[in-house]
């Protein structure tokens, strides 16, 4: 099992490693800030079959369909050039683009059984979170998109600015949705729904079957095996939950406390256990 960037999510890392230990599976880790910098991906294609791995100095590692891979976090690549890490000008931009292209290609080609495969065709890693949230709606389901406005500030006072940390350069506004703030951990065909308590202890609550089904379908549309979905959940019977944010990294998992943390930990443990146990490598197919 290979984890890349797991140090950014130490609680999830501990759970995953504990499961691997129980199943006597070796865990190899690559730090996010070394991935693509000193530990560099390679891939080959021969007779239509991919092979992939990385070079660490002169040591070559290859991942096969029998391996398990979860790139939990990945850093942007630094500018590199003939003059060193901060090499100048167009050459440095070109080199960075080439390394980035190699890493993106690697994600699509690596034969290992992969959780949340990244790359230029992975919705969870190509769309902005607000765009993902805006793509949730399907009529008559238990899940809907937030009401979003892009452009000049709306004059209606109901609109508030979307958090700057969860958008890019765009000017984005939304109408806060009714309901209590929840986070759903969606993985392995299960949903753990937690009522969020920023200054207290989160509680695990039962998700209605329709909401569970909608969240599982949403994660599948995002091509994500692990997904965290922030929701405004109205009181029972008061309409669909509104998606507020989406994250394929176990960031909220790190912050869950109390019984909710325990429930999410057990959920992650079951999910990872099945993934590691899946000898056939169900997700090892090349896409």
């Amino acid at each position: 099992m290979v984890l890349i960037g797991a140090e950014r999510c130490p609680t999830a890392r501990a759970v995953v490693r504990a499961v691997a230990r129980r199943q006597v599976i070796e865990a190899v880790e690559v730090a996010a800030d070394q991935w693509g910098v000193t530990i560099r991906p390679w891939l080959t294609l021969s007779d239509g079959r991919f092979r992939a791995g990385w070079l660490e100095g002169t040591r070559e590692v290859e991942l096969t369909a029998a391996d398990r891979l979860w790139v939990i976090a990945e850093d942007p690549l630094p500018r590199q050039g003939a003059d060193g890490p901060e090499g100048a000008g167009d050459d440095a931009d070109y080199l960075r683009a080439e390394w980035l292209a190699a890493r993106q290609g690697w994600h699509g080609a690596c034969p290992a059984s992969t959780v949340n495969r990244r790359g230029l065709r992975a919705p969870a890693f190509t769309y902005a979170p607000w765009q993902l949230a805006g793509r949730t709606s399907e009529r008559h389901t238990a899940l809907r998109s937030p009401r979003l406005a892009l452009g000049a500030p709306p004059t209606d006072a109901r609109w508030v600015e979307w958090p700057a940390s969860r958008r890019g350069a765009e000017r984005l506004w939304w109408q806060p949705a009714d309901g209590a703030l929840h986070v759903a951990v969606v993985a392995g065909g299960e949903v753990t729904l937690c009522r969020w308590a920023p200054h207290g202890v989160e509680a695990a609550v039962d998700a209605a079957p329709a909401l569970t089904a909608a969240l599982l379908a949403f994660a599948a549309r995002c091509d994500a095996q692990y997904l965290e979905v922030w929701l405004a959940v109205p009181a029972a019977g008061d309409g669909p939950a509104t998606v507020l944010d989406v994250n394929p990294e176990p960031a909220a998992f790190e912050r869950l406390t109390g019984a909710a943390g325990v429930a999410a930990g057990c959920h992650l443990s079951r999910f990872v256990g099945r993934w590691l146990d899946d000898a056939a490598g169900a997700d090892g197919a090349i896409r």
Partner: protein
């Protein structure tokens, strides 16, 4: 009407608009340099209006509602013009990118779909899934693995960029590859086994129309005959049906309404896509050269598709 996004002095944008003018097809043009200055984009989505996107393009004295736009042709980011770097300009460029992704009608091409061409290896999986071959490839630094591959290719290799930057495809010797890959190479090299046959460019429009031409040349890289001392002649061809279907599947898998698919036809031809190689799919094809020199009616097909007539 068709919305055209680009810069007025970018050749392909200008060519397409000249076609629309000549055919009296209604269109509205937004120059990328005016985004955030003279032009704003407003979009609304979500809430109870599930799946709906509304909005408008705002000019200083008039507006175009999204509902009046039948399709979008984008050449954003392709011109050589210097773009303003104000916060307003960056915001409006982000809004334009979002519009391409969210617009409910035909778009050439959606922002996120266009990214796949930023990594040639990222397209190889879909190319293989569509039924085409991809030349044996190495993307790496480090000599030992490259040596094993080159040995199996009898040293007959070319080198090209890994990413989206166009590079001159060149034949390389094993010694040149070795020199490039050892000693802490500063860039990954994409080395491919050289394949023989005629280069064929297919423009796939609207998921259906496949307009193809064959490049007759001795040059390794037919796109740069001037740099290689060879001439090139383009001739329109009709693809074998199964090859055309494989192109359609590839464009669909890459979610491209408009794609420039680079193929190599085996010597003597073949109806089976498995006998053809595919190098990459250009997600923002500069089709002007092919239309002019092979008399392919790409602008007509694009205008029909984006105008809702296809």
């Amino acid at each position: 009407m068709i919305l055209v996004l680009g810069t007025v002095d970018e050749l392909v944008s200008a060519w397409f608009m000249a076609h629309l003018v000549a055919r009296e097809r209604p269109f509205v043009f937004v120059d990328e340099r005016q985004l955030g200055a003279e032009v704003r984009i407003e979009l609304q989505t979500g809430g109870d209006d599930a799946d709906g996107v509304s909005g408008r393009i705002c000019f200083p004295r008039w507006q175009v509602a999204l509902g009046d736009i039948s399709g979008i042709f984008s050449r954003l980011g392709t011109g050589s013009a210097t773009l303003p770097e104000t916060a307003a300009a960056r915001a409006e460029r982000a809004h334009a990118a979002a519009l391409l992704d969210m617009f409910p009608g035909p778009v050439a091409n959606r922002s996120t779909a266009a990214w796949s061409n930023a990594s040639k290896p990222a397209q190889y999986g879909p190319i293989i899934a569509a039924g085409f071959g991809v030349p044996d490839t190495l993307v790496a630094t480090g000599w030992p693995r490259a040596r094993r591959l080159l040995d199996s290719w009898d040293g007959d290799a070319i080198v090209k960029s890994t990413g989206g930057v166009r590079s001159l495809v060149k034949a390389v010797t094993p010694a040149q590859v070795r020199g490039a890959l050892i000693g802490g190479a500063s860039a990954p090299h994409q080395v491919q086994r050289r394949v023989v046959g005629h280069n064929v460019r297919v423009h796939l429009i609207g998921g259906r129309t496949a307009l193809a031409c064959r490049a007759i040349t001795e040059a390794i890289d037919y796109r740069h005959p001037d740099l290689t001392g060879h001439g090139v002649r383009l001739e329109a061809i009709v693809l074998p049906p199964r090859v055309a279907d494989a192109c359609r599947r590839l464009a669909r898998d890459l979610e491209l309404g408009f794609g420039g698919i680079d193929l190599v036809e085996p010597p003597g031809g073949s109806p089976d896509p498995a006998d053809w190689f595919c190098f990459e799919v250009n997600t923002c094809p500069g089709y002007l050269w092919f239309e002019q020199h092979a008399d392919l009616r790409i602008s007509v097909a694009l205008a029909d598709w984006l105008g809702g007539r296809a």
